[in-house]
């Protein structure tokens, strides 16, 4: 560490461990949430403020089912039990979302309420959902990860490569990146290639013409909530496996998720994903302390004495805000030419 030599390999091993892998998994989690928001916006025409708390709801179901499975001893060694219960949790979460749609959103669709009215009602759903989660699980943070914690640990990596700086690849990171990739691929395949997916896009494009083509609006709404339920549950469970579960944390996820959606271009699925990674990388790159990284790269005389941290981690949500403001000022349609929200 105190050597005078410039050590590029160790510097990038450090960056991989503390920036690249965390940002890739955080970005994947945001991407799934952002995709859910995009689907709701495209098909149901409102920005769903309840997204973060819905993710908490989905994760709550995962936690309850995981606890049940472990208490029965129904586990597979090495694999997080949470992974096994996700399919059932998706069913529960989708049912919850469909119930909320039936109780609340459907009414506003029927009376052709303005988009802003439905947004306000989604804030109500947000509070109710958050309340349910806190009522059932409490407001404290908890972990529910079991099974093998690492694909490879720092020690294993060091022993294998002989590098001074180790890289750990957590199981939760591996699962997050892999599952997010597969799920996004599935959603795109579904929307582009299947008859039902195309009908969903058609309904999003032109509701009246979709009706004239014999596309059932109620069915489209239901399928949307099913997809959103799956994305929401998986995003929440992966985030929780990675960083632990805390209702307030999930609630606050709404901000980076909305930032992702708007940066990418509202209503554009590909934009939501690109936006999610942009937000995730900005957050982590700007709050990372570069001291050790620079020590690897710079000669002894230039070693920094401070942490070289651009922004304190406690301000990470401000980054989403700033990105939001910049995009809305400079390019309101986002990177992928989304829509600018106007009430019809």
């Amino acid at each position: 560490m105190t050597s005078d030599s410039i050590d590029i390999i160790n510097a990038f091993a450090l960056l991989t461990n503390f920036v690249l892998l965390p940002a890739l998994s955080y970005g994947s989690q945001l991407a799934l949430g952002a995709l859910a928001v995009t689907l709701v916006y495209s098909v149901l025409r409102f920005s769903n403020f309840a997204q973060g708390d819905s993710m908490a709801f989905g994760t709550m179901i995962v936690i309850l089912l995981t606890g049940f499975m472990i208490s029965r001893g129904w586990t597979i060694s090495g694999i997080p039990t949470a992974l096994l219960v996700i399919p059932i949790a998706i069913v529960f979460t989708s049912m919850y979302l469909l119930t909320m749609d039936r109780l609340i959103y459907r009414h506003y669709r029927k009376i052709k309420a303005k988009s802003i009215t439905i947004v306000m009602s989604s804030i109500g759903v947000m509070f109710v959902t958050g309340g349910i989660v806190r009522f059932v699980l409490g407001a404290t943070a908890q972990k529910f990860e079991d099974g093998e914690r690492f694909i490879f640990s720092i020690r294993e990596f060091k022993a294998y490569t002989g590098l001074e700086q180790g890289i750990a690849f957590k199981t939760s990171q591996f699962l997050t990146i892999t599952i997010a990739f597969l799920l996004v691929a599935f959603v795109f395949y579904f929307l582009q290639k299947t008859k039902t997916g195309k009908a969903m896009r058609a309904y999003s494009d032109n509701k009246e013409l979709a009706l004239l083509s014999g596309i059932d609006p109620d069915k489209m709404v239901q399928i949307t909530w099913l997809l959103v339920g799956a994305l929401t549950t998986i995003a929440g469970a992966l985030y929780g496996l990675d960083k632990g579960f805390a209702p307030q944390q999930y609630h606050l996820l709404l901000l980076p998720i909305f930032a992702s959606v708007i940066v990418g271009g509202i209503g554009s699925p590909i934009g939501a994903i690109a936006g999610a990674f942009l937000v995730a990388f900005s957050e982590i790159l700007l709050t990372y302390a570069y001291k050790k990284f620079l020590i690897y790269l710079l000669p002894l005389s230039m070693h920094p004495s401070s942490l070289v941290q651009l922004i304190g981690t406690e301000y990470k949500y401000a980054i989403s805000f700033v990105i939001l403001v910049i995009v809305l000022l400079i390019k309101p349609t986002g990177l992928f030419k989304g829509k600018v929200i106007v009430d019809e």
């Binding site: 195309k198 058609a202 009246e208 013409l209 979709a210 083509s213 014999g214 059932d216």
Partner: protein
């Protein structure tokens, strides 16, 4: 009884009455045209026939069956097809996907019908992978027309098919409409270009303030001095 019949239709938007005992009918292999001044309720007649707006009284019958209580989707599957005046394509979908969506309710193979549409509008075959929003107005109108034909309808309702297109494209669209009629379909259209439309129409309705003001064959209406003076500009 005519193939499609709207009888004594009364309808309103909220408290604003639009149609007062208005009747239209069209036979298979016949082209009927509804003309009239703005706000006469021409488009409203279409919406009532399609079940997109409920009539407060009156009936809609198709081939002798009362379809007044059916939903729009059910009427579509009974053979009605509609080309709206505006927003008549799925803009962010390709031409081919637009046609596929037109055939959404069909359980059988729709590729044959897609080929028929391409045969009728060869330009659409060349542009099949392009997004509908990238097409010209006339081409988009053809997509809209093709989409409606995908259910193999027995009756086609057209709301101002020539609105906003050049005279050349207008002639083309009228000739397409005549092709469709000659193939045995019933066609009912609302048209602003009253003179040209009545010229090719088998039957015409002049609507004023939601009432049937004049009814007759296309020729009769064109030769009717009162219709000429009021609606065809002398």
């Amino acid at each position: 009884m005519a193939y499609l019949e709207g009888k004594n239709l009364v309808a309103s938007y909220g408290v604003v009455p639009i149609l007062h005992e208005c009747s239209v009918e069209v036979e298979k292999g016949e082209l009927a045209v509804i003309v009239g001044p703005n706000g006469a309720g021409k488009s409203t007649v279409m919406r009532v026939l399609l079940g997109m707006l409920n009539a407060t009284s009156g009936s809609v019958t198709l081939d002798g069956k009362d379809i007044s209580m059916l939903s729009t989707q059910d009427r579509i599957s009974h053979g009605l097809a509609f080309v709206p005046q505006t927003k008549n394509v799925f803009p962010s979908m390709t031409v081919e996907e637009n046609l596929q969506m037109g055939g959404f309710i069909r359980q059988d193979d729709i590729n044959e019908t897609i080929e028929e549409v391409y045969a009728l509008f060869p330009i659409l075959y060349d542009k099949r992978k392009q997004l509908a929003e990238q097409l010209s107005g006339g081409q988009r109108q053809q997509v809209a027309f093709g989409r409606a034909m995908m259910t193999k309808p027995s009756i086609m309702l057209l709301d101002e098919p020539t609105a906003g297109v050049s005279p050349i494209v207008m002639d083309e669209i009228f000739s397409n409409i005549l092709d469709v009629r000659n193939a045995g379909m019933a066609v009912l259209m609302v048209e602003q270009n009253a003179q040209q439309a009545l010229n090719i129409a088998d039957k015409g309705y002049v609507l004023v303030s939601g009432r049937n003001e004049h009814t007759g064959t296309g020729k009769e209406l064109i030769n009717n001095p009162e219709v000429r003076k009021k609606f065809l500009g002398g």
